[in-house]
Symmetry: C2
Subunit: 728 residues, 2 copies
């Protein structure tokens, strides 16, 4: 897998070097439109299943513009998705010209496009005039003509820099985009009952193909992430029913028809490892293959160590991420296939240690936010709104894309207005009508009433994020307000929720009374965001994190943060054991991807059930892959210390391993780390930073000067291109 994607990636890179022109649109609009197609592909036993939150869409009329200066006359070619007009220097041209000749000199080009069906999009190709993100775009130009016939531009509208992806040729029309597909054969097939059970060897995603349908009658196709699911016709989560007629095949769910040919490819993709195909008498379904569908991404991050089980965990995590990193970062490939903010923020963080796929991060952030007016929390979930804010500053730190922050900032601001409009007298958030307070799927009662400590911590961090992003967007007035709000809320967290006797933040406060319950959530986040002092951090380690009497976490989703908190406290050895036990546990259950939820107490088919449905659980869930993040950030120990890794920190930690090595990607470079019990090697292709480490003896380095820090640890400066080796 890795090599092929390397190749594809290189080709894409080459093509965008050769041809700088690309299809452009109103920023965020293509992302919403594509997201609607993604989110609306969910099915449940043959029924269409769209999201239950507001679905926004693209602006149907937009105007693209560009001021240009030509040294000599130039003929430019236009391709447009939509009905359009062209103005050159304010003069409307006849019809919808595909070719325009521009004379030498300065010109103003305005191209206005209407498209209800898909986002208005433009492709301009000339010797020097090319559509790219330097073009401006607006949904409301406010140009008007007064009685004198003079066109005036009141310029009140914010002209945005055009959005783009990688549609760099005229033929790669944005509305026609599909992910690439590749034919795959089943690994095995056996007769079961009246049908055939196919096994594709591991969890996969795509379109089942029946080759050589003949006769007439009905065919049932039952998908399973497990053989039990595929064979359970009454309860499997996804299925297809076909009716084969004399000359055509009808999909009974959508009632659409295809002519009866050599092979029949299902209309909609599914996630599965097993497929059970059963046909009634009189019809022969032929044999099954599948078209694997994927986003071409390069696996740029790597991890290897002496522990083969851990290596396998990393590989399975990587494959889980590969399957769930698609047009967008989705939750899981079988059931929802939706974009969820709480899931996505973890995917982004894993992605920074694996693919460093930036476009998918930006697309997912646009889609999750949608458009104004804000009428509910992101995905309707209060906590998911907060993760959405946080994810933007994360992205800025890892990728350094200030332009993206500035473009999304107005939507951050209006979402925060929505949140601030729903705070109580204390300036805290509570679940109001319509708000889903999620926290986590828990095997036990979770009180969601009143002021949840966990939500206040996320809210406080969101306000801090807003102030940082407001500064980046040069909205200093708002930044000051957000800073004050954050400081005020932060000052209340300990007084309101810290219980000195329990040595922990309590779960919530109802009518001003703190509850008696302690849960992990608020304590974990308060620790990670630096809201607890060092003493409190040590206290919660024992009173909460390592305390079995506190309600345990059974989703990899919240384990992500729980284990991160332990790493943050220097407990890598314990985390290593937890990873081998928890993720290793799934491997021992023959997982080929990681699951939505895993409770080691359960047995057999209990592992498949969730939401009161026998196969409700997703067995390939992005949030299952957190070791990718933990190993990159807390074992290889690489983090950006300044936006875009201009500065970085490498704090490697073996956590009980004998040796490890790996690569952490940056937007335009990488950092390689090797560590064993005696030496550390670090090499970065860009930026500069420090390697932090402990040593029982006086350490030595091949380059540079090691500095001893006040806490007894050491650091060594590293610059791009240096091959640093530390003996410690």
């Amino acid at each position: 897998m890795k090599k092929r994607f390397l190749f594809t990636f290189a080709m894409l890179g080459l093509s965008s070097m050769l041809f700088s022109q690309t299809w452009i649109w109103y920023p965020g609009d293509y992302e919403l439109w594509l997201g609607n197609r993604m989110n609306n592909r969910r099915t449940e036993r043959g029924a269409f299943f769209p999201p239950f939150w507001k679905t926004d869409s693209h602006y149907v009329v937009v105007e693209f513009s560009k001021a240009i200066e030509l040294e000599k006359p130039e003929v430019i070619h236009l391709a447009v998705e939509g009905k359009y007009n062209v103005k050159i220097d304010g003069k409307l041209q006849f019809g919808m010209p595909g070719t325009i000749r521009l004379e030498a000199g300065r010109h103003q080009l305005n191209i206005k496009v209407w498209n209800q069906v898909s986002p208005p999009a433009l492709f301009v190709n000339g010797e020097t005039v090319k559509s790219d993100s330097s073009w401006k775009v607006t949904f409301e130009d406010k140009e008007w003509i007064d009685e004198s016939g003079k066109a005036s531009d009141t310029s009140a509208t914010l002209y945005e820099s055009a959005g783009r992806w990688n549609f760099d040729s005229e033929d790669s029309r944005p509305s026609q985009f599909t992910l690439p597909r590749e034919l795959k054969q089943p690994a095995g097939c056996e007769k079961r009952g009246n049908g055939l059970l196919y096994d594709f060897g591991k969890e996969t995603f795509g379109y089942l193909v029946l080759n050589g349908i003949s006769g007439e009658g009905s065919i049932g196709i039952y998908y399973g992430e497990s053989p039990e699911e595929a064979l359970d016709k009454e309860a499997c989560e996804t299925l297809d029913f076909l009716r084969v007629e004399a000359d055509k095949v009808v999909d009974l769910s959508t009632r659409s028809e295809q002519p009866k040919g050599a092979s029949y490819t299902m209309e909609n993709s599914k996630a599965f490892r097993y497929v059970y195909v059963e046909a009634e008498a009189g019809v022969e379904p032929g044999n099954a293959t599948m078209l694997f569908e994927y986003l071409p991404v390069e696996q740029r991050g790597t991890f290897r160590c002496n522990d083969e089980e851990l290596n396998r965990i990393w590989e399975i995590g990587s494959y889980t991420m590969f399957l769930t990193t698609r047009e967008f970062f989705i939750d899981g490939i079988k059931r929802d296939r939706w974009v969820w903010s709480g899931d996505a923020i973890q995917s982004y963080l894993m992605n920074y240690y694996l693919f460093f796929e930036q476009d998918a991060v930006e697309r997912t952030i646009w889609l999750l936010r949608g458009k104004d007016p804000v009428t509910s929390h992101v995905n309707t979930i209060m906590d998911y709104t907060f993760y959405w804010f946080l994810s933007i500053y994360d992205y800025y730190m890892y990728a350094g894309d200030k332009q993206f922050v500035r473009q999304i900032y107005p939507r951050m601001k209006s979402l925060m207005e929505f949140v601030l409009g729903r705070t109580n007298e204390e300036g805290m958030v509570e679940g109001l009508a319509g708000d889903w307070v999620f926290v986590d799927w828990a095997d036990g009662y979770l009180d969601k009433k009143g002021e949840l400590a966990f939500e206040q911590v996320l809210f406080c961090k969101s306000l801090e994020t807003m102030s940082l992003c407001a500064r980046l967007a040069e909205d200093d007035e708002a930044a000051t307000i957000y800073e004050a709000l954050a400081a005020d809320l932060r000052s209340k967290l300990n007084p309101c929720f810290w219980d000195e006797q329990k040595q922990a933040l309590v779960h919530n406060r109802v009518d001003g009374r703190p509850s008696e319950t302690v849960t992990r959530y608020a304590n974990i986040f308060a620790l990670l965001y630096g809201y607890l002092d060092e003493k409190q951090g040590e206290q919660i380690k024992n009173s909460v994190l390592l305390n079995d009497e506190i309600l345990g976490i059974t989703t990899p989703y919240m384990r992500f943060y729980e284990l991160e908190a332990l790493c943050y406290l220097g407990e890598q050895e314990r985390v290593m054991k937890e990873m081998k036990s928890y993720w290793g546990g799934m491997l021992r259950e023959n997982a080929t991807t990681f699951w939505e939820k895993y409770n080691p107490q359960q047995q057999g088919t209990e592992h498949l059930a969730m939401y009161n449905r026998p196969y409700g659980k997703s067995l390939c869930h992005a949030w299952g892959a957190s070791p990718i993040y933990l190993l990159g950030k807390y074992f290889l120990g690489v983090t950006p210390a300044a936006p875009g890794y201009e500065e970085f920190t490498v704090r490697p930690c073996l956590g009980g391993l004998k040796w490890m090595e790996g690569t952490v990607p940056m937007a335009d470079g990488e950092i390689q780390v090797y560590m064993d019990k005696k030496k550390i090697r670090v090499e970065a292709t860009k930026g500069k930073g420090y390697v932090y480490f402990d040593s029982r003896r006086k350490p030595k380095a091949n380059i540079g000067t090691i500095e001893k820090l006040s806490d007894g640890s050491y650091r060594l400066p590293v610059s791009a291109g240096e091959k640093v080796e530390i003996q410690y």
Copy 2:
């Protein structure tokens, strides 16, 4: 014309009686979508010309729902525009079922539809279960499933009553709607230059048809509201260029093709009386006919009097309104063909005295408003925002549709929030960046700086309207706020703008200093809204309205209000002379419809020019038809005194005529009025009210008791069904 539309109307009425089920959608959404098609049909010399304000669109995913109770099992049929699912009692059904069997008992039906292309729409037909406006619809159901598998509905969302029109059969799919068309022959044709000039006898609208194209080559088609325009190939406002090839005909503007057949119908409609068709050698264009396109409306209002010129003015006004009353009330049929709020409010008012077409009023109000967030004034024009508010209460008074007010109220509220967010320290509005302060097209300088008196008067009336509508929507808290804001602003109007020396409101105030200029606008509106006392009213009559030194009005648009003001002051005789002079003047220029602007000082082709273009003026402009309104309201004298004409006022006034008679329609009835110099006859089919009149002698009535009022005039009560005759 009249009879045919009567027939069509009766048929439509019948069909909606026989079949109560109808296509439904999210309220306002179909209206926006259809409006986008309408507004985007504008062309300028073969170039597509969309509006320059934000174009909103439909919600792409909506859910329809209905709680039903069945006495016996029932099979219902569904037709849906979009991809959909069906839940019965919360249980998702397989596929997209076209037929559902429901058992006896209570049921909850939920149908969720996704459609990017056109508004999600639903048609349900069963014996008792039928889609209609009693169904609920939401764009955000917020239903979610917790871990127990239980679906919960948090019910935070406002479920709206479904929108509908008259698509009452399964086959009349909303997305396929087009207005009816009818073949028309030209009235004449003559050879001019290398081509033929067709004359269709009067202003018309539709699709030119060329019958019998042969050969190969280019054809130019030049449209004119005047022969000068049609013959001016370089400057006519609209045109079509065709390229005829061996087997097809290409429209050179859109590049779309049709096979070469017996006849070729142009893709897009045009407004014209004259068409000049010129073909190059080698191609024979054949002869031209046209498909007249119209909204089937009944001309329910009538007016006849002894003055044939006035009768002709009324007829031409009626035809002007017939041409501009289409999917929406548009400004003019030639050039913009857009929906403009200032134009529309006048169209609605004329419509109440002519067609009483309610659906078009509602559609136009929805379209003008668009969706949240509000980013600019309606049509970008500040005054047009205010007219939009006012038009809603007008509609309520004439049609009595409280449900519509309640549905549109949230959008009124958010638009008013936008306005209030842009007021200055005095609570007054000024044109800010992006605001177009229009007022009127004037043949002279109009200062648009600072606080325009005219805008404050409209703003004040808008605040009063908001308080009335807030009460109807049971938003009493907001009503109180709007009342206070209106009272505050009203208390400032006279102190800030009344100039005792000039006996008039001055035009504006800049930096707190009232200007020296007096214009008509503020004085007219302040008078009509009752913001001037009786003494001020008499003062402005002479100091402004009848004062030739004040900048004159040259558009029928502002003459609408100017003449209304004179009628309001009892100057019907003067208004009659003005109508005969001004609108009669257009007739003497051979108008077959009324114009966008008319300046009696101009001559010949000067009348055709506007916006610095020789044929820029629209010769069929809705706002040209104001005599329809003036004659109905101030001569026949019929107005609603309570919403929906539950109570009415008839205050007939001959204004110099010998006799007049006419009919004023209501939603579900009509009032007939006859008056000559000796008697008044009134008959209403519903409601009750008073006839107000003056009499030099003691008046007599055939029914009821005449009451003498304190000002010396009389009134007589009238009830539905009574044929009242007054001798006066």
